[in-house]
């Protein structure tokens, strides 16, 4: 089947023709995945649910040329003799870990061979890492507690001398049962939990959550609220990029970069606090709009702060570019070529640095980005230098967007009242966070209870790619390569 035939059997979500739902049986589950892959589409998320959410099922969200599609395969009518659903790992390699997570959380098994636990860490069972055999090969286990101020996870390096032959990550250490926790919240409060799936992407997750909620409850939010959400999302991108650019300089042995960029980041955080009320806007995006109006003089101060950030980061970029030691560490390190990136489904910022020209703000044109028209930033070399360059470009572009928003903010309300309807609902929200595409699938029950919520962080796509990026690099470059991706553990471990 071509995409057209699938389109004909799909139904739109909440009257939105660009987001469509396809209920499929097991053979079609596989064929849909094949057809989307063949047409150049990509898998955005894969999740499951058990009987606590109504009926057991697996879901796959795809980004296709015809919009966002969600395939649903019910598992309360087992078809396959071994009671497993068709795996998608050969088509989308990162699906393997998502399928293992679905098995951990909901007991639904895929037909793919790797069935080691992923998010759950059974006490009685040692994790079986893939062993590399040969003369002089030894293993370096690192973590879960790391040397820096970062999240916990385990890395197993197989090395010869200082060259990395293979890296295998073992994650799940921050698994705290977020998906199940959502059921303890009303749908209006669930937004606060969504914002804390990955603290560095609070705006992206809370916005995606609100899109999913507002679509199924058929609430249209004011234009001003859309712009104020974008304001926060771009500030989040600016703060994270500034932090990473400093940390990357530091990991390349250039502490000056950390001092300078962390100073700029602090300025942005303080301007954000004066404008949005929080250094990290955890509770800015709320169902129906945003938390409050902008205080009077804050916009001018924020605009001035960002003008300085643009000017100063321009100077710092010149310094990074001309510093022989920094260039030597960045260029060619941790490279993922565009062909491999496409094969792995490398997403977001790291994907764009490897020639994958995807950005949901541009691809889906969700409001207000259809008006703001952000420029896509990208590179082809796929190395640390490329991920640094894309951050510099996006930093400039996001500063431009925020200043544009401040200058042209539409008048009107920044929030509307929102009430739960008297029927069940299901919605999807997708937002391009600073790291990449964030997706939230939300099912609510009449009266506003949450039946099921799945938040998807792009780190799922990119953790396996990190393992490819370090092959043939030296162990001491791993912190630099890892930081250049800066993936979320919490967003992944749920």
């Amino acid at each position: 089947m071509g995409l057209k035939d699938w389109l004909a059997v799909s139904v739109p979500f909440a009257d939105d023709p660009a987001i469509r739902r396809l209920r499929v049986g097991a053979p079609e589950w596989r064929r849909l995945a094949e057809d989307v892959a063949a047409s150049g589409g990509r898998l955005l998320a894969l999740w499951g649910q058990d009987a606590t959410a109504g009926h057991p099922a697996v879901f796959a969200a795809y980004q296709t040329a015809a919009g966002l599609w969600v395939g649903e395969l019910r598992r309360d009518v087992p078809e396959a003799p071994d009671d497993s659903y068709p795996g998608l790992q050969d088509l989308y390699p990162f699906a393997g870990r998502l399928q293992r997570a679905i098995r951990d959380l909901h007991g639904l098994r895929s037909s793919d061979p790797d069935d080691r636990p992923w998010l759950r860490h059974p006490a009685a069972q040692a994790y079986e890492f893939v062993r590399v055999e040969g003369d002089g090969v030894h293993e370096i286990p690192v973590g879960p507690v790391h040397a820096g101020i970062i999240e916990p996870g385990h890395f197993r390096f197989s090395v010869v001398g200082e060259k990395v032959l293979r890296l295998e990550a073992r994650l799940g250490y921050t698994h705290k049962g977020i998906e199940r926790r959502f059921a303890d919240f009303g749908a209006l409060d669930g937004c606060r939990l969504a914002a804390r799936v990955s603290g560095d992407s609070a705006v992206a997750f809370s916005w995606a959550y609100c899109i999913a909620l507002e679509a199924q409850w058929r609430v249209a939010i004011p234009r001003r609220a859309q712009w104020l959400r974008a304001l926060a999302l771009e500030l989040e991108r600016i703060a994270n990029h500034l932090g990473d650019l400093g940390a990357l300089g530091n990991d390349a042995g250039f502490a000056f970069g950390l001092a300078q960029f962390s100073r700029l980041k602090e300025r942005v955080l303080r301007a954000t606090e004066s404008t949005l009320g929080q250094r990290y806007p955890m509770d800015w995006v709320v169902p129906g709009g945003v938390a409050h109006e902008l205080p009077g003089a804050a916009a001018t101060a924020l605009d001035r702060c960002l003008a300085d950030v643009v000017a100063e980061s321009g100077v710092l970029r010149g310094i990074y570019d001309e510093h022989a030691g920094v260039r030597d560490r960045f260029a060619g390190t941790g490279a993922i070529a565009p062909e491999l990136a496409a094969r792995l489904g490398l997403a977001g910022l790291a994907g764009r640095a490897s020639g994958q020209a995807h950005d949901l703000r541009i691809d889906l044109r969700y409001p207000p980005y259809e008006e703001l028209r952000p420029a896509i930033c990208g590179a082809l070399s796929g190395d640390v230098a490329a991920r640094v360059a894309v951050r510099f470009d996006e930093l400039q572009e996001s500063c431009r967007l925020v200043r544009r928003i401040l200058a042209g903010l539409p008048s009107g309300d920044s929030r509307v009242a929102i009430l739960p309807p008297s029927s069940d609902g299901f919605g999807i929200g997708a937002v391009e966070g600073w790291r990449g595409p964030v997706l939230v699938a939300l099912a609510t029950a009449a009266g506003g209870r949450i039946r099921r919520c799945h938040p998807h962080d792009p780190s799922w796509q990119n953790w396996p790619a990190l393992e490819h990026a370090v092959i043939d690099n030296i162990v001491p470059d791993f912190p630099l390569i890892n930081k250049s991706f800066n993936l979320s553990y919490s967003g992944h471990d749920l």
């Binding site: 507690v145 999240e151 921050t174 705290k176 603290g199 932090g243 100073r263 100077v315 001309e322």
Partner: protein, 182 residues
Amino acid sequence: MLKTLRQIRRTGIVSEPVPAPDDALRIRAALEGRILGILGRALAVRMVDAGSCNGCELEVNALTNPIYNIEGLGVHFVASPRHADLLLVSGPVTVAMREPLLRVYEATPDPKLVVAVGDCGCDGGIFGCGGPSLGAVANVIPVDVAVPGCPPNPNRLLAGILAALDPSAALDVGQESRGRAE
């Protein structure tokens, strides 16, 4: 090189004054004045994320920027618990991090201090306590000071660390742990 030096000169010194130790954050008067006398104001801190959303880590990282300049106070972050005087622990503690956290605590030489960070480190916060979340840091290891906030800002973190460290504060504060912050 010239550009770098010019930028350093133009930036100047941006560090701000230190906040006072906040004794309201103290939940356990665990240390004798003798121990604090040994530590003085040269403190080695080990950060352990025991399951947080990474928001607290962002603010702990900010402590090292030139504005809060925590190293200028004699407080520095170390790479191993074996080098640490104080553990800064964010939560909620997950089931998978319980054992690693206990091992970090055991590896930290006595006398040692523990500062729990963030609402989740104080009482489980929004993730609560149940299933794979064990909630407060104090549910797994003894805690001296708990700093609430989601996330707590760097000045609050600094005040919490100083409250754990300040000998004069230790004389004033009374009894054993109540388990968590108010």
